[in-house]
Structures are given as C-alpha cells and as structure tokens.
Subunit: 398 residues, 2 copies
C-alpha cells in the first residue's frame, strides 16, 4: 500500500481553509472546516495533559456518541486556560458552524491551536465560519491543512487508496505540529477522513491502534500540549461491506500508514529541525524497557544537540539509555549510528567514528541500540536541537 | 550561618591542582588531588545511571568501608564505557597516588570527568600525580577546583565555619558541573571536606540529607551522567566532641548549606545559562506531586527557551505542570513569575505580563506555582536554554 504526502478527495467530505483574522499576520489562513453531508462515524484521541483546553473538553464530550458532522479548527489561539468564558466561546463557535451548515450544534467538534491563555475574537471567527462554509470544496483538504499551521513551515497531508470490502476506499488526513510535540499526543492537531463504511466502535479502536505507532511514537521537545487532538471521521460513501477479520486489519494498517506519514512529517518539520532521526532500540528485556530507553534518548537535549552537530556521540547516547529504570548491561550493548557500528561490548569503536560523522550529514538517519538481552523493540522518531529551535521558542509566545 | 563562595583551609587536608596534559588544550589544569595525613571518615553518593564509569565502580567499592585518605580527580576523560581496560586504568591510577603518598591503594578514591568512551594516557597521569603530590598545600582547594573543570567557565568553591561540639569546625567544598546536570546526581563531581570529628555512618547519612536539598534539586538539561560523584571526608582535626541531637542537626544543616552553595553555582554556570530560575511549587497534594511538577517545568525546553527570551509564558509553564501524573486543578492554580502574579483561578492576567517580562530581565528570578490543593512543596533550580547551550553541545564531544 502506497501512502502519498498529498491530499485527496474523500467522498462524503468537503473542506475549506480561510483567513478569519485570528492570527496577527494579516491574510494568513487560520480557520479550517471539514464538513460531511450528514452525521458520520467519528472517533478521536485527546491529550492526556491535566490541563485541557476548552475545545478539547467540548470535542471529547461530543465525539463520545460516535457521530459528528463537522469539525472546525482554528490556529492563532489555543483557547486554553481561559476558564468559563473559554468554554462558552468553544460552544458558541460550534453553534455558529451549525447555524451555517444547518446541522445540530452537538454534531460539531471544535479544535484550537496557538497561544495559551488567550481567547480569539468571536465576531471575526463567526465571519470566518461563514466564509469557510461558502468555500467548502471536495478539493479543499490542502487549504484546510494550511489553516491549522502555527510554527509549521509547510502544510502536512497524506492519503492512500485501497480495495476493501468490495469497494475502493480512500483514507486522507491533515495535521499540524512543530512545537510541544511529544509522547501521548502533543500540540498536534490531526484529522483523518475516509469514505469507508466503518462503525464508530471499530473506528475508535482502529484509531487507538494507529496512534500508538504513529503520533505517540514521535517527539520533538518532550513537551506535552493541552490541545492535542487526533480525530477521524468515516462517511461510508465508499459503500463497502462491513469490515471484519483480515479486512479490518487491512483498514487499521492503512489508517496507521496515513497517521504515520503525518506523524513523520511533523517531526521532519519540527521547530528548527535539520535532522530526522529514528531511535530504534532492540534486544531489550521487553517492549516497555525498549520504549523507555528510546524515549529517553529521543528527548535528551545533549543527544539532540549532538545530532545537530553531526557528532556520533556514544557517551551521550549510552548515558541517556542508562538513565532510565530499564535493564541494560553496558558490556553487551551494540550501537549503530547512521548504519555505522560505533560501540560494541562496552567499548567505543574509535576508528569508526569518522565514517559515522560523515553519514550523519544526511537529513535522515537511524540510531540503533541493541541491548542483546531479549526481544523487546521500540522506535521513536525525533529531531535535532538546533539554534533555530531556541530562536523560534525564545521569540514566539505559545 | 554564613556560607561563602570561596575556598578555605580545612585542618587535616591538603590540596593540589596541576596540568597533566590530559586535556587537549595545553597548560589547562586537569588533575586534582585531596589528601589527608591518614585515613579519615568518608562517605559518598554516586550516579544512579545504569551505565557507571570505571572510577565510579572503584570509588563506590572503596568508600563502603567509611575511610579514605585521598581522592584523585581528573578532567579531560570520563574513563566510562571503557570496559576492563578502563577498570584497570582506574585501579592503576589509585596505585600511583598511593605510591607517592605512601598510603594504602585501597584508601584512594578515583574520579573522572570529560569525554565518555576514551581512556586517558596513564604515563601523563602518573607524572601529573607526582607533581600534584609535590604541590599539596593547605591553600590548594581553589587549584583543585580549577583542575576538575570541563565546560565550566569558573571554579566553584564554598565554605563555612561554625562552632560545634565545643570546637570551631570548618566545612569547605569544590564542585564541577556545566553539562549533563540533572536529578539524581548529574555530571557533577562534588567534594566536601571538614575538620569535624564525625563517624563514617553519621557522615554518610548527613551527606544523603544534604544531597536531597542541594545537588538533587537542580537541573540544567535533564541529562543524567555516568560519572556523578559527591564525596565527603572528615579529618576530625577540629577535636570536637561526638555530634548528637541538635548538634548533629546543625552539622547536617551546615553541610547542606555548603552543598547548596555549590549546587547553585553549578546551575548559575550551566552550559550557556543566562538565567538562574528557582521553580517553586507549593500547595500540591504532597511533596512527591510538588517535586514531579517542579522537575517537569524545570526540564521543559519550551519553558527554558521562554526564560531565555524573557517571556512570561503562562501556557508553557502550565502545560508542563499538567503533563505529569500529579494532581492539579487548572481552575485553582496561581502563578507568579519574578514576583508578578500572572495567572489566577484558571485565567491569564494579561495586564500583568508586561511587568513580569520586565522583571525577567534579571539574572535570577523565581517561578512560583501554587496549586492550592494541599501542603506539598518542592523547589528545583534550573537555567535557561540559550543559543550558547546549543553551540556548546553541538561542538563539544562529551
């Protein structure tokens, strides 16, 4: 199955992205809308942060029924840490969409991203909603993806087509990331739509499975956002027969592939990122140990600055690996960076460092740590820590 | 009790710091020696990293008996991840010191800091030991402090004098830090000597107490080193009577104060640091919750870059606070940055931000987060994340 980093038409959905004036830079798109012709299957996963934005509170309540007709997402303001007025604003925002679409307000889910602690201007927002509804188009996914960008430098979309249940099914998505990207759903808004006919319960479990190997396996800065939302909607317009057994598995795999493509694009475009590095830990006693070590390495500022400097720094990687509670024997481990073995049996392979350094000039490379203790494996995608990360975050107010 | 950020004479100890040629920059001091006239009470705490340097393995074994006569510490090479040859090197190094001092090799503890994965040149080291022994002086603590520096920009020493058990007692110390500074003892070597008469068991428990509020309450980058060692020696030359009850408490407090002064100097001089920020969490349900939140905030790259940019960024601080498993109610919390209240009852106080921004230009300021849920409190000292942190770590091989 091929996944393209580009948008696609998905029967049953129309999209729009407009400039409502919510961002300070005039003319920048900041309001995106996805609308189905009627309520469709829906599922979502949200941030596990104890501080949840108002739209997260509202959307998580609404998606529980398993059906949504529209999603409205704005950038420029996270509407988080805004108390009761923020909650009111999120509800009013959905009502404004429902009025324009002539649907039930409870079938509209809100999402916000941008600065925390501030509310957006509702009059501007309402005018933007009107415009978005008038511009809804089957070809609008790219415009939608642009509208949800914050410090992203490019829109992120992905799509795939497969035969399933006797029909041709399309799965397409859009996401935004850049900062506060970390385990357990980060500042990240992700949207996946499909024309497959899928019951809400199956869509929900498929989305959870897809998340664990995609959005929950990436990190940019270890910071967990208050607004993370990954939402999926299935229109059923493909007319496939119910998915079960192998076909259900195929659907989950396709959904995971689209989610992984989006997640990968988020890390590639992480704030200030000049490298995309896959931290692969294998040979751990179990999967939990492998994941613990992979995350620790992936989030270490010392490791990430070494990536930026193309420095095959064995010391920082193994020091990070040893800092968790996971079982590890330094005398057994083997480390490869960018395909070059630079440590083995508790010793550095000095003569290999130059070759590793050379290969680290690539935009993407893997770090493979084999603990040689068991069968546990995990991979986390991360970026480097560059001057631009500091520049972006010392000057931009989240 | 007054603690000065300067060295002192401590009866029973002599110190030296020399240039043995272990560092690449010629003439830089890189070998420090502390020697007592005979074996004295000793205690130490070490890194909890699963990857332990050879000198940590040797020193932790030797200090277990509660008596040491000398400590030899080098910079320029961590002698970590160096396998059996590294262990041999650490043992030979102690033997060289013992030969010069004419003491038992088992009474010498080794410490190393610098690049991981490489061993130092033993012939240079041995010549350095000879020179160090010949230069031992009661006034040599400052020179010792210089010899253990890596990316530190200045030597760190602290001292205090108090009356205890009928005698005047001095406690003095030296430390190095700069990178891989984090909870649970980071790349950090710390040495504290006192002329107090203290039994090994009491010294050990006093050191543990002192560590929890000093070296274990700081972070620069959340990275945990493989070589962390904090070692204390007590010569007994002060001739005080045995310490018990209130006098034991006074000794712990004085030891803690010296340790805290050293720890504070480490953060102040953290790699690239332009700010020293005390993250104080209070009103948590319990102390563990308070500490969890304080650490999460103190290690957040987004929070630390905001400090660098003098940005009173409520969103990043509360998002970090909410990312732990600690109980937190956003609608109750109050946040002060640099003394200015900028959030209260789940809302941002927009009009206060300018005043906070102004005060964040100071070199030092506190962040106070009151959860208003209970009596749990914790403070963690941290630095900001600056361009220079990236510069230092993209170009320096740890």
């Amino acid at each position: 199955m091929e996944v393209r980093n580009e948008p696609a038409r998905v029967r049953g959905f129309r999209f729009a992205g407009v400039s409502a004036g919510l961002k300070t830079v005039a003319g920048t798109k900041d309001l995106g809308l996805i609308a189905a012709g009627l309520p469709v299957s829906a599922a979502a996963v949200f941030t596990s942060n104890r501080v949840k934005a108002a739209p997260v509170v509202v959307a998580s309540e609404r998606v529980r029924r398993g059906r949504l007709q529209a999603v409205i997402a704005n950038s420029g303001s996270a509407n988080c840490f805004t108390g009761k007025p923020g909650l009111r604003l999120a509800l009013d925002s959905c009502a404004a969409v429902a009025a324009e679409l002539e649907c039930e307000a409870a079938a509209v889910a809100p999402c916000s991203t941008g600065v925390i602690g501030h509310r957006y201007d509702f009059e501007k927002y309402r005018a933007g909603v009107k415009q978005a509804v008038s511009l809804l188009s089957e070809d609008g996914l790219e415009e939608f993806a642009r509208a949800i960008m914050t410090t992203d430098t490019r829109p992120k979309t992905a799509s795939t087509v497969l035969r399933l249940g006797g029909a041709e099914v399309t799965i397409a998505g859009a996401a935004k990331g850049a900062g506060m990207i970390s385990p357990h759903m980060a500042t990240l808004l992700g949207f996946i739509v499909t024309d497959a006919a899928v019951a809400p319960a199956i869509l929900r479990s498929a989305l959870r499975e897809a998340t664990s190997t995609s959005f929950n396996a990436i990190t940019v800065d270890g910071d967990m956002s208050t607004n993370d939302t990954l939402l999926a909607m299935a229109s059923g317009a493909a007319g496939n027969r119910p998915l079960a057994g192998r076909e259900r598995t195929m659907f989950v795999e396709a959904l995971s592939a689209v989610a992984s493509s989006l997640a990968r694009q988020l890390v590639y475009d992480g704030e200030g990122a000049t490298k995309l590095v896959a931290i692969r830990v294998k040979g751990a006693r179990n999967r939990a140990d492998a994941e613990r070590i992979a995350r620790q390495v992936a989030n270490s500022p010392l490791v990430k600055t070494a990536f930026f400097g193309c420095d095959p720094n064995v010391g920082r990687i193994i020091a990070a690996a040893g800092a968790t509670s996971a079982t590890l024997d330094p005398d057994r481990l083997e480390l490869r960076v960018a395909g070059v073995r630079i440590a083995s049996r508790g010793m550095l392979l000095v003569e290999a460092l130059e070759a590793a350094r050379e290969r680290m000039r690539e935009r993407e490379f893997p770090v493979e740590l084999n603990l040689k203790l068991g069968a546990g494996e995990a991979t986390i995608l991360t970026s480097d820590l560059s001057f631009d990360y500091v520049k972006i975050n010392a000057e931009y107010t989240t």
